[in-house]
């Protein structure tokens, strides 16, 4: 090891060895998802305000913010809406994560949706919950819209913790199946907002509740173009 390497190693250890972690770290992790959704809601409110004000702003300043512009503003894209019976996960609550190059091989595809690592699902009992909680990540093609619902008998024991329900009571929460959502609508980011480690896809993360694992779960995936859903099944808690 060279002199500079030795000095650097010593400097780094001297700087941080003995530093205690934040005392409220677990609590902050538990609150994080809820804060994220509060922020997302705030962004949506600001966006609505901006849309309402945009014709005046554009008339005064032009699209590039230059004075005297007289161009016609383009029609804003309609805000995405959740399919009936589902909650919405749209671009503002997308997550960033590098899934690695082989993420498709580890995933199950249904139309524009990819269920990440679905072949290896397991749920865990945390805290005092009588139901198990598992994590679920879904990639949706940018600009696509699809919704997923629990299907058949699964509706009785499987629910989603996405959208407004995401992580709502944290890891120690006393969940029941009724706390979850029957379905989730996923909307890929529009072109001007798309950015992801997985180019061309928008990634969402959330949780699910399941009573009595191990159990087989069936999900139906719908798109606006399909009359019949695509059904996938997977095993939780093997």
């Amino acid at each position: 090891m060279s002199e500079i390497e030795s000095r650097l190693r010593a400097a780094m250890h001297a700087a941080v060895d003995g530093l205690p972690p934040p005392t409220d770290l677990l609590q902050q992790v538990r609150l994080r998802r809820r804060r994220h959704h509060v922020r997302s809601a705030a962004v949506a409110v600001v966006a609505v305000g901006a849309l309402a004000a945009s014709p005046v702003t554009l008339a005064l300043h032009g699209r590039d913010g230059q004075a005297g512009g007289a161009r016609t503003p383009s029609t804003p894209a309609p805000a995405p809406r959740a399919a009936p019976g589902t909650v919405l996960d749209a671009c503002a609550s997308a997550i960033d994560e590098n899934l690695g190059l082989d993420w498709r091989q580890q995933s199950v595809r249904a139309g524009p949706l990819w269920f990440i690592d679905l072949r290896q699902q397991s749920a865990t009992y945390y805290g005092r919950s009588p139901v198990a909680i598992g994590g679920l990540e879904v990639a949706v093609q940018d600009r696509a819209k699809a919704w997923v619902t629990a299907a058949g008998l699964s509706r009785g024991y499987f629910r989603f913790l996405f959208g407004p329900s995401d992580f709502k009571a944290g890891v120690d929460g006393h969940y029941t199946v009724a706390d979850g959502e029957a379905g989730v609508t996923f909307v890929g980011c529009p072109a001007d907002q798309a950015w992801s480690f997985q180019r061309g896809y928008t990634l969402y993360g959330g949780y699910y509740l399941i009573a009595g694992s191990p159990r087989r779960v069936a999900l139906d995936i719908w798109t606006t173009a399909s009359r019949k859903p695509t059904r996938i099944t997977f095993l939780v808690g093997y």
């Binding site: 941080v16 770290l25 865990t124 009992y125 945390y126 890891v171 093997y238």
Partner: protein, 177 residues
């Protein structure tokens, strides 16, 4: 029936046991910015919780969280508008020699120089010289090749050396080519 409880370390136990080490890594990755380090670590742990069962079965949850920290530290920089490299303050002086105070000053100088490196180079040095990871594991953590890790480390060390006035080794000279 509960799913494989023997294979899954409770998330809370993991956080209590490993958060100090992970927080120190986050501190170095963020150039010792405490609030950024806390934010980085919270995000990495929240992502880990989401897939905790699978991460535990992989056998090394700390490796996953460290990888997430390193990735997020470089991504954060990218998303904050490609903030340029930070230069040393105008009153920063090079290393002095002789006594304990000089040693402390030298360390402080090096750490500030480390904080001024591009985040990817900084991450490589932190993972290599603080976490003692081999090049292959650093490459895995940052999603690049071992060759890239080598060249990034070489450039970063060359930068620190230029600032501190140390002589390069033969292998470091080769790494820059």
């Amino acid at each position: 029936m509960r799913a494989g409880p023997e294979a899954i370390v409770p998330f809370e136990d993991f956080v209590r046991a490993r958060s100090a080490t992970l927080f120190r890594t986050a501190m170095l990755l963020t150039g010792q910015n405490r609030s950024e380090a806390e934010d980085l670590l919270q995000g990495a742990l929240e992502r880990a919780y989401r897939r905790w069962g699978r991460i535990c079965r992989s056998g090394d949850p700390e490796r996953y969280v460290r990888r997430s920290l390193a990735n997020a530290s470089t991504d954060r920089w990218r998303r904050l508008g490609r903030r340029g490299e930070r230069s040393l303050p105008a009153n920063a002086s090079g290393p002095v020699t002789g006594d304990h105070a000089a040693e402390v000053a030298d360390r402080d100088f090096l750490l500030r120089a480390l904080a001024g490196l591009p985040p990817r180079q900084r991450a490589v040095l932190v993972l290599r010289y603080y976490c003692d990871l081999p090049e292959a594991e650093i490459a895995d953590a940052l999603g690049c090749t071992a060759g890239t890790v080598k060249s990034q480390a070489s450039r970063a060390l060359a930068r620190l050396r230029a600032i501190s006035g140390a002589e390069p080794t033969v292998s470091e000279k080769e790494g820059q080519r």
